[in-house]
């Protein structure tokens, strides 16, 4: 993508810092709450930019192994959901669950990493 610095990561970081350092301390009530929500949303975007590609590649690799087919993430996730509903994965529960658990853990590592520690 054609850009000079600041790159997209740096821009999102700057907006998050602005909300956090200059907006949040000066608002209260519902607006303060929504400002925190917005800061968290931007932090999710930053973590996704840093780790998302690697997680996607790993998930795609697991899906191909599990389903023994080729395709992109969206197609294979659709196929997996269909196969689970049809009972076609019942003979591979252990590998299926390992995949689902890893995928959910990655989602949380992006969305709310504190949730993975005992006390959040």
């Amino acid at each position: 993508m054609p850009t000079d610095r600041p790159n997209a990561v740096e821009l999102v970081e700057a907006v998050r810092e602005f909300l956090s350092d200059h907006v949040a301390p000066n608002v209260e009530g519902q607006l303060a709450f929504h400002t925190r929500v917005a800061i968290n949303a931007l932090a999710i975007v930053e973590r996704t930019m840093a780790q998302g590609d690697e997680m996607d590649a790993a998930e795609l690799g697991r899906l191909k192994d599990l389903l023994k087919q080729d395709g992109d993430l969206q197609a294979l996730n659709g196929e997996l959901a269909r196969a689970i509903r049809a009972g076609e994965m019942d003979d591979r529960r252990e590998t299926l669950l390992a995949h689902l658990r890893q995928t959910a853990e990655d989602k949380i590592a992006l969305a709310n990493p504190r949730y993975l520690t005992k006390r959040g």
Binding site: L80, A111, G120
Partner: protein, 344 residues
């Protein structure tokens, strides 16, 4: 809303309440201190006192429908579709009170007319309903160890209300509840292997759900419990009440979403499962097996995840643009993660 419009609405409501308190508490009774509490879009709550001449003031809360209540929407509104009308909600609180559940008294109701929407009025009790504060503040230190038992006891009591005493309620047995959640997920057109596994796992074990049918509170959790320094002071928010398997409530109160970081306390972040189940028996309920409770916890995690997705899609479909709603969508992964730790 313009200031003018909100003043007219408040004046209209004050006039209705003045009429009603005079009917309920006797001629000459007036209201005092009418103020809107929640800014919630789905329901309005108002605080006021009734002043009967020569007697003590009655601290009260009105819960009513929003004045511009829209017609029921499509499926993507999810659980909102299960919501009860305010008269039924208030009636459930009265019935719960009659069987010994701590609830605010419900002294009267409002009809919808040209001045107000329908609502019910309840006693304004002292106490705290914010889950996080209940778990953290010193003033509830003596209450916390008692809450799991008290919650079990209270649930057993309202679960035992005979069906012929209940008002007409939606009937949602477990198989239909699973179909319902699956249809909600399907409506988002975003295949979801994690929740699909939950539907599959639960469907294989339907016998664990139990076959009793009774009043389910529907949102029985830390956050809808009023707590004071001595323990459980009131069970609130009955608007998702329905007929179904009562054990649903016991699984729901145990899911991690209501522990607010106090993860080692399975029941609402304040107590132990053994206390919850002992309380359930002490309140007249059956001995609940850990397998059944486990089933309903998995169900609860799934349901919480689907609710999170539903809120996000309220934003994504343009129905109500909200940074809060769309962000909650990412919490669906917490329900997914939790249920995947619980299943085999």
């Amino acid at each position: 809303m313009s200031k003018h419009k909100s003043e007219i609405e408040t004046a209209n409501l004050a006039a209705v309440l003045d009429d009603r308190v005079a009917e309920v508490y006797g001629p000459g009774t007036e209201i005092d201190g009418l103020v809107r509490l929640s800014g919630g879009a789905s329901r309005e709550t108002w605080s006021f006192d009734a002043l009967p001449p020569g007697r003590a003031r009655r601290p009260l809360i009105l819960k009513r429908d929003p004045l511009d209540e829209k017609a029921p929407g499509p499926l993507t509104e999810g659980e909102v579709q299960l919501g009860l009308d305010r008269w039924t909600e208030g009636r459930l609180m009265q019935l719960a009170g009659e069987v010994g559940v701590p609830v605010p008294d419900v002294p009267f109701f409002l009809h919808a007319d040209d001045r107000t929407s329908a609502g019910f009025v309840m006693q304004r009790l002292e106490g705290e309903a914010l889950g996080r504060r209940i778990l953290r503040e010193d003033e509830f230190a003596a209450a916390r160890p008692k809450l799991a038992f008290q919650c079990g006891q209270a649930a057993a009591r309202f679960h035992s209300i005979p069906r012929d005493r209940l008002p007409p309620l939606p009937y949602l047995p477990v198989a239909e509840a699973l179909d319902y959640n699956r249809d909600v997920v399907d409506s988002f057109d975003q295949p979801h292997a994690g929740f699909e596994y939950a539907f599959h796992w639960l469907r294989e074990r339907l016998e664990l759900a139990g076959d009793r049918v009774g009043l389910v509170h529907g949102d029985y959790r830390n956050g809808n419990l009023l707590v004071d320094g001595t323990g459980l002071a009131g069970v609130l928010d009955w608007e998702l009440g329905h007929l179904g398997n009562p054990l649903n409530d016991l699984g729901w109160i145990c899911i991690r979403a209501w522990r607010y970081g106090y993860y080692d306390k399975s029941v609402g972040g304040f107590g132990e499962v053994s206390d919850l189940l002992d309380g359930y028996e002490a309140g007249g309920g059956e001995r609940v097996s850990l397998d059944s409770l486990h089933f309903w916890e998995v169900f609860g995690c799934m349901r919480w995840g689907v609710i999170c997705m539903t809120l996000a899609f309220t934003h994504l479909t343009g129905k109500e643009r909200s940074v809060e709603k769309v962000s909650i969508g990412r919490r669906a992964a917490e329900g997914e993660y939790d249920l995947l730790q619980l299943v085999d």
